[in-house]
């Protein structure tokens, strides 16, 4: 066809003038390793066509050559791999949507070794006959083990483009928008809607997926208000842009319309500029729009007709042909046959003819077309063959002939002898399918409209307004009028504008409409043979779904259109069946002998067109994936080499290794140093809730299992919290600050949920109680000094609290000054050592921490992290809720009967739950200690216990290890576990069969390994 010379400026199919392209800006691009030229304003598709490239891919199942069929988002075939570097690879770009830029590199996604000679097409020809719908389900299952081998080959052939293997160099972001009126689509209707809403004073967004506003006007030139349509478009845009309440977005697809008029717009800010976004710009942006009302002015997609070999390159939509000629000054071929079932198909023949090229014939399926266009065709001298259809295209890799035959009135069978017309392009129009997609996203079903032979939007939960072609409007003046009304109505319905919406009403621009002839319902064009024997008649190009396949599956019993979709994959592709679905539904309807309305559509879902994951993620990646919460002393930990652990969103110091230490060495050192002298832990992440009010104490009594009536100011108490099911939910120390004032601490992870829990009960169950809750987690920096020297250390930095062991007892708290900062010091202990928990306002945290180290040198003050904290508390048998419990453990199971008060007057939360039949049964799993028989063996946490290790699988498991450590202080391994009936089985052995085949034996014991009498923490 065309002579491809590297770098030579060919563009043989470019018209010498016209089009909305900038001929002064020549762009070079590479397609399948050859270089081509195009112009600024081209899409990749128009540039390819200008260069005579007519095969752009191979089909999925049969590997047939495929060419460009459409000019917009509905294109099923021209799917490209774009990207000049590995990191900028983009799979599955629709060439019709991609603006051309200089240096664009792309290739077709299907076809091996090349799209022109394709190996798979041989396979397709041979095996194609066997690959009916449901092919896979009926084959490959014997022998059973072979399926996965077959599957490997199937998978190799799968997929269109490929993902990059590298990180995307670009960034993406989001913007929240709130408007009165959101107008989707910037064609004649949308522009009018936006303008009338804006004039009424509304905040408006209008978005269109194309590179400029105008919609069909961009190629369907008419005069509006006595000026060229596109001048008129410009005038409207100028007024919109001058209005500060209006935002106008191009290259912006509205991808979803969600509940309560929430819309997502995918703004492709830089796709037309290059592979990667210019410095300082995000590649794509998602606008998340909340609109009071929505005007859908999304236009319609032209439906090509289904006939034999209708997938041959050279078969196109009529409107696409017009667009290539008028918008891009590109001839998609040399000689044209048009087949149409309505008036709109004629336009492309006129456009083709008017630039001086050969129109072989217009084949009109209607017997007696009577619109103005029929007359106009005659005037031009174009042959119109009425009552006939192109029943088949012929050609090897491109259309060479159209086979035309007379058909009956209803278009159901061929009545005449087929004749052949020589041509290289067949444009067809079966009518228009309104772009109803968005109207369906919140569950509404579209409604069949017999006037236009298409589905129009049904009623949506939010009463969105459809205007223009999408609602079935047939003429430009109707579109304009509907747009104006929709915009005004939308503005008027906004609460914020009620009453004041001035309808500085827009008068309908003047246009001359032509007389339209009645259209004919036409989907599948009959052939002399039945669909199963005729040349393939494609409905869904991307998934190779043919009319025959639809009939076969329907006959197999897949009668619901949803079944048909899933059995044949119709509409499953990246185009979601924009051109094929309605044809498919019509074919199914006919096979079942029902109407299209009865058959219905499949469900339209977001996204209207696909959106990159990068755009959906926006800036929520890397460091911004999730907040990192830092304690006030974080910087110090970093500077001192801490390893961190993620606890919820918090970064907690895990351990502080020194040069050359293995983790266990560090833990041994930290734990020993603490018990020998003094260690320090950053405990700032613990949840802290300030509770005030006359009923604060009573409230505590209701939400904790233990008693609070007698806790005096200055004293602290451990509290255990259950859900209504009686299962342990959280724990922590609560201090009485004053008679009506308490400070509750929670686990790090439980902070937010416990506060919410308290609010829930207060606000909904016991609103009469006088109590206030406030989170003070962030306010306090908390550092625990622990060990026999902690008192001496504290004394160095605190002179205004009497630290005497009898004046400031275990479970007391005092206010004072620590290192110059106002502080609350709590004498509580999670290590079993003499400990003080120092709390200072967070802005003093780092200062006090550093002061402690300054004075702590002489005591070898040792920082320890969460891991040593876990070991130290386990040495005392203290539990960690969430690690030693799992939502199935009651306080009794946890051996905390001492923390359950059964004589409280109010039936506190958890009490009734604990009394349910199953919670009272004997033989529940209970928390106990374990010592391995070999003291050097540390059981893995999560190891499962059995009583009889010789039992064959499945074995009877009696519990599992919840916490397990090597304890340098105890000089052996220690563990905690929940074991069935464990509390009654002290001294008995349980066994742990491990993954490596070994079995570890351990004895059940109590958990108080260090200082069982508590002498140390009371010292």
């Amino acid at each position: 066809m065309v002579n491809f010379v590297k770098g030579r400026f060919v563009q043989n199919y470019r018209l010498p003038s016209g089009g909305r392209i900038n001929r002064n800006k020549v762009l070079t691009f590479r397609y399948n390793n050859r270089y081509y030229k195009g112009y600024e304003g081209d899409t990749l598709a128009s540039a390819l066509l200008a260069n005579g490239v007519d095969i752009v891919g191979r089909s999925f199942k049969y590997s047939r050559a495929r060419g460009i069929m459409c000019a917009g988002v509905e294109e099923p075939n021209a799917i490209m791999q774009v990207g000049a570097t590995e990191a900028t690879q983009i799979p599955n770009v629709r060439a019709t949507e991609q603006s051309l830029y200089d240096g664009l590199v792309c290739s077709s996604v299907k076809g091996f070794p090349s799209v022109r000679f394709d190996f798979m097409s041989l396979v397709g020809r041979v095996a194609g006959g066997a690959m009916g719908p449901g092919f896979y389900y009926k084959t490959f299952m014997f022998p059973a083990f072979m399926w996965e081998t077959y599957e490997k080959f199937i998978r190799k052939a799968a997929g269109l483009g490929r993902s990059s293997r590298e990180r995307d160099p670009d960034t993406y972001d989001h913007m929240h928008q709130h408007v009165d009126v959101m107008v989707v689509g910037g064609g004649a209707s949308g522009l009018m809607a936006a303008l009338s809403a804006a004039r009424a004073g509304a905040r408006v967004i209008i978005a269109d997926e194309q590179s400029e506003m105008g919609g069909a006007l961009l190629h369907h030139y008419k005069e509006i208000d006595n000026m060229p349509a596109l001048d008129w478009v410009q005038q409207v845009c100028d007024e919109l842009d001058a209005n500060e309440n209006v935002q106008r977005f191009t290259r912006s697809v509205v991808t979803g319309l969600h509940d309560h008029n929430f819309l997502t717009i995918n703004e492709r800010r830089t796709h037309h500029l290059g592979d990667a976004a210019p410095q300082g710009m995000t590649r794509e942006r998602i606008h998340k729009v909340r609109a009071s009302s929505v005007v859908l002015a999304t236009g319609a997609h032209e439906r090509p007709l289904v006939f034999g070999n209708n997938d041959l390159p050279g078969c196109m939509q009529c409107s696409a042909v017009s667009q290539y000629i008028r918008r891009y000054a590109v001839m998609p071929g040399t000689s044209l046959v048009v087949m149409t079932a309505n008036d709109s198909g004629y336009q492309c023949a006129f456009d083709w003819f008017d630039v001086g090229r050969e129109v072989v014939a217009i084949v009109d399926t209607r017997a007696n077309p009577d619109g103005d266009v029929f007359v106009q065709a005659k005037e031009r001298g174009i042959e119109v063959i009425t009552g006939s259809a192109v029943i088949e295209a012929r050609g090897g890799e491109r259309v060479r002939k159209a086979v035309v035959a007379a058909i009956n009135d209803k278009g159901t069978f061929v009545t005449g002898e087929p004749t052949e017309l020589l041509c290289d392009t067949i444009a067809s129009s079966g009518g228009w399918s309104p772009a109803v997609h968005l109207s369906c996203h919140t569950g509404s079903r579209p409604v069949w409209n017999d006037d236009i032979f298409g589905f129009v939007p049904g009623e949506t939960p939010e009463n969105n307004i459809a205007a223009g072609r999408v609602s079935g409007a047939q003429t430009l003046s109707d579109c304009l009028r509907e747009g104006i009304k929709a915009g005004a109505d939308a503005a008027a319905s906004c609460a914020t504008l009620h009453g004041q919406a001035s309808s500085d009403s827009l008068s309908t621009p003047k246009v001359v409409d032509v007389k339209q002839g009645a259209a004919m319902a036409m989907y599948l064009v009959p052939h002399t043979k039945t669909p199963t024997r005729a040349p393939k008649q494609f409905v869904d190009m991307q998934n190779d779904v043919t009319a025959a396949a639809l009939q076969v599956s329907t006959r197999e019993g897949f009668e619901s259109i949803e079944h048909v979709k899933r059995y044949t994959a119709m509409g499953f592709g990246t185009d979601q069946g924009k051109t094929g679905n309605v044809n498919g539904m019509a074919i199914v309807a006919k096979t079942l002998g029902q109407t299209i309305a009865q058959t219905g559509t499949t469900v339209f879902r977001p996204n209207y067109t696909p959106v990159t994951f990068g755009a959906v993620a926006g800036s929520n990646k890397g460091a911004l994936f999730d907040p990192k919460r830092f304690t006030p002393m974080h910087k110090w930990h970093v500077e001192h080499g801490a390893k961190f652990e993620n606890v919820g969103q918090w970064k907690r110091a895990w351990y502080f290794p020194r040069e050359g230490e293995r983790m266990q060495d560090t833990l041994n050192r930290e734990c020993v140093a603490t018990r020998a002298s003094v260690g320090i832990l950053d405990a700032s992440t613990l949840g802290k809730i300030d509770i005030q009010g006359k009923d604060a104490r009573e409230f505590l009594g209701r939400v904790y299992t233990n008693a609070w009536a007698k806790l005096e100011p200055g004293r602290c108490r451990y509290g255990l919290m259950c859900g209504e099911d009686g299962m342990v939910m959280d724990d922590g120390v609560t201090s009485c600050l004053a008679e009506n004032h308490f400070l509750m601490t929670t686990t790090t992870g439980g902070a937010a949920s416990v506060l919410s829990w308290l609010e829930l009960y207060h606000q909904t169950e016991w609103p009469e109680m006088d109590v206030y809750f406030n989170s003070v987690t962030d306010h306090w920096a908390t550092m625990t000094i622990s060990g026999p020297n902690s008192r001496a250390l504290l004394a160095k930095v605190c002179s205004d609290i009497d630290l005497d062991k009898d004046a400031f007892k275990f479970m007391d708290w005092r206010a004072g000054t620590v290192a110059g900062a106002p502080a609350r010091v709590y004498r509580i202990s999670f290590t079993g050592e003499l400990s003080y928990e120092i709390n200072v306002p967070a802005h003093y945290g780092l200062h006090v921490w550093e002061a402690l180290f300054e004075h702590g040198r002489e005591f070898d003050l040792t920082p320890y992290g969460t891991e040593s904290m876990h070991v130290l508390r386990a040495e005392k048998g203290f539990v960690i809720v969430g690690q030693d419990t799992d939502g199935s453990i009651t306080p009794i199971d946890m051996d905390h009967a001492w923390a359950v008060a059964n004589n409280k007057p109010f039936s506190y939360i958890g009490k009734r739950g604990m009394a349910r039949e199953d919670c009272l049964r004997p033989n529940r799993k209970q928390l106990v200690g374990l010592e391995t028989v070999d003291p050097n063996t540390v059981l893995p946490e999560g190891a499962q216990a059995v009583r009889n290790p010789a039992q064959s699988i499945p074995m009877t498991m009696v519990g599992h290890v919840t916490s397990s450590y090597y304890s340098a202080n105890v000089g052996r391994s220690i563990a905690m576990a929940v074991i069935r009936d464990g509390l009654n089985r002290m001294g008995e052995s349980v066994f742990f069969p491990l993954a490596d085949g070994s079995v570890v034996e351990a004895k059940i014991c109590n958990t108080n390994w260090v200082d069982p009498d508590g002498a140390r923490h009371k010292s």
Binding site: H258, D259, H260, N261, F262, R290, T442, G443, P461, E724, D725, S756, E759, L760, Q763, T764, E765, P767, S907, K911, R912, G913, A915, R916, E917
Partner: protein, 99 residues
Amino acid sequence: MFVIYCPYCEEHREEEEFHASGQAHLARPLDPDNCTDKEWGDFLYFRKNPRGLHQELWQHTAGCRKFFNITRDTVSYKILETYKVGESPKVNLEDASHG
């Protein structure tokens, strides 16, 4: 994504500021210790779960932290009203229910 009117902030806010807390008007038995396992289980776990109008409890977690009630259609997701804890709903579920 919903837009919800907070009766305390007296404004519509985006769903992301709220947290759904299940069926509304679930009364805790007044005398838990003297109710049966069945009664307690009904309170704890068994729910109306209607297809149609539903009264549910939400919290304005990122706003005023207040709990309030919503009458919402669980099919169309329309919110018919929001009302404070302690107030009575205006929408009668029987009248407006789906078939």
